[in-house]
């Protein structure tokens, strides 16, 4: 019996050869336990070594193999061939990002936004190592844990129609990560982060379409993080308007 195969239609963009991208078809062996990333690795190893794409852990942790699989932002390490077989699978780079080469997108904008939102812990009070850890109760951990599951895969940016229309929008993952630190009991950087999160290019660009939460492979629910930030920011705005200066 001949071996089963499946066709991958892969987006190719080789700027040194042509300014126009094209789609190239590859027939790869079909295995039930293979994911799209396995098929791409097969192409790279056995058919066409010029194909370029990012990948690392193959287990949904590193967040580097995000691509459009049949028009849907997916981690290719978690998109099984069996869910598409025998239909061909179209693999493209994540939408809403500039393409550097083939399936590789330019991450600069996202990395800049992570920096802008200060997605790291800013301790309330720096203390010497000799004083020990910054302790936290399980309850305090639970308030932000969900948002800390983000793996920076950027599927939410590819899914977000607002980011597609307005690239200045801070975007789902950066806001969720900002919230992750804002809600951390050990953190004292909320004021600094709020300046960017509550700006017009922050949470207020979001129209709560919710695609970010639908495609998130780690169930971070960035849409919820944004809505919570909106409620919080609205409360603070009205309080500062209604309360006399200095009172809080």
């Amino acid at each position: 019996m001949p071996e089963k195969s499946i066709t991958l239609e892969v987006f190719r963009y080789l700027p040194e050869q042509s300014d126009e991208p094209k789609y190239q078809k590859y027939d790869v062996p079909y295995r039930e336990d293979w994911v799209v990333l396995d098929a791409l690795n097969y192409i790279k190893d056995h058919i066409d070594g010029s194909l370029s794409y990012r990948w690392s852990c193959r287990m949904g942790v590193c967040g580097s193999c995000g691509m459009m699989v049949n028009g849907e932002p997916r981690l290719t390490c978690a998109a099984f061939l069996r869910d598409f077989y025998p239909q061909p699978i179209r693999v493209e780079p994540l939408t809403n990002f500039p393409v550097i080469r083939d399936l590789i997108i330019n991450l600069e904008d996202f990395l800049h936004k992570l920096k802008e939102v200060k997605a790291w812990l800013i301790p309330k009070q720096e203390k010497p190592v000799s004083e020990g850890e910054y302790l936290q109760s399980p309850k305090e951990l639970a308030t932000y844990k969900q948002f800390s599951m983000c793996i920076n895969c950027m599927l939410c940016y590819a899914a977000c129609p607002v980011y597609g229309l307005e690239p200045k929008f801070l975007g789902p993952a950066a806001i969720a990560l900002g919230q992750r630190y804002n809600l951390d009991s050990r953190d004292g950087g909320k004021e600094e982060r709020t300046d960017i999160i509550a700006s017009s290019e922050g949470i207020w660009e979001c129209t709560f379409i919710g695609e970010c939460s639908r495609v998130c492979p780690k169930h971070v629910d960035p849409a919820a993080a944004i809505q919570r930030a909106k409620v919080q920011s609205t409360q603070e705005w009205w309080m500062s308007l209604l309360l006399p200066k200095g009172a809080k």
Binding site: P161, G202, K230, V231, S233, W237, W238
Partner: protein, 111 residues
């Protein structure tokens, strides 16, 4: 970066979402179906509407629903590509919600 003044519009939008989702279907059934079907006596309902709390309720329901609706319309229009006219769209949208709210207040006070 300056914090946005969007909460000024978002607060009534958010309140309108909850208020209209919770009460609008009930009000529509009471006034549109129950009275027409004769399940509720129209004169008795009118007496209830004259109560100051009901007047306040009707004002809030109409006004907040208007603010909710225009906020959505504003963003739909901007997302449809009318971003260059975002300013005038905001003025028209929130302006009509303010006019509608004034009319609702007059209606609630003069019933």
């Amino acid at each position: 970066m300056a914090r946005s003044n969007e909460p000024l519009f978002w607060a009534p939008f958010f309140a309108g979402a909850g208020f209209s989702a919770l009460f609008m279907p009930a009000v529509m059934i009471i006034t549109g179906v129950a009275v027409a079907a004769g399940w509720i006596n129209a004169t008795q309902l009118y007496q209830l509407i004259l109560h100051p709390l009901t007047r306040l309720f009707l004002f809030l329901l109409i006004s907040l629903s208007l603010f909710h609706a225009v906020h959505r319309i504003r963003f739909v229009l901007v997302d449809l590509g009318l971003k260059p006219f975002a300013g005038i769209i905001s003025v028209l949208c929130y302006g009509s919600a303010i006019v509608g709210s004034i009319l609702a207040a007059i209606f609630a006070l003069t019933l």
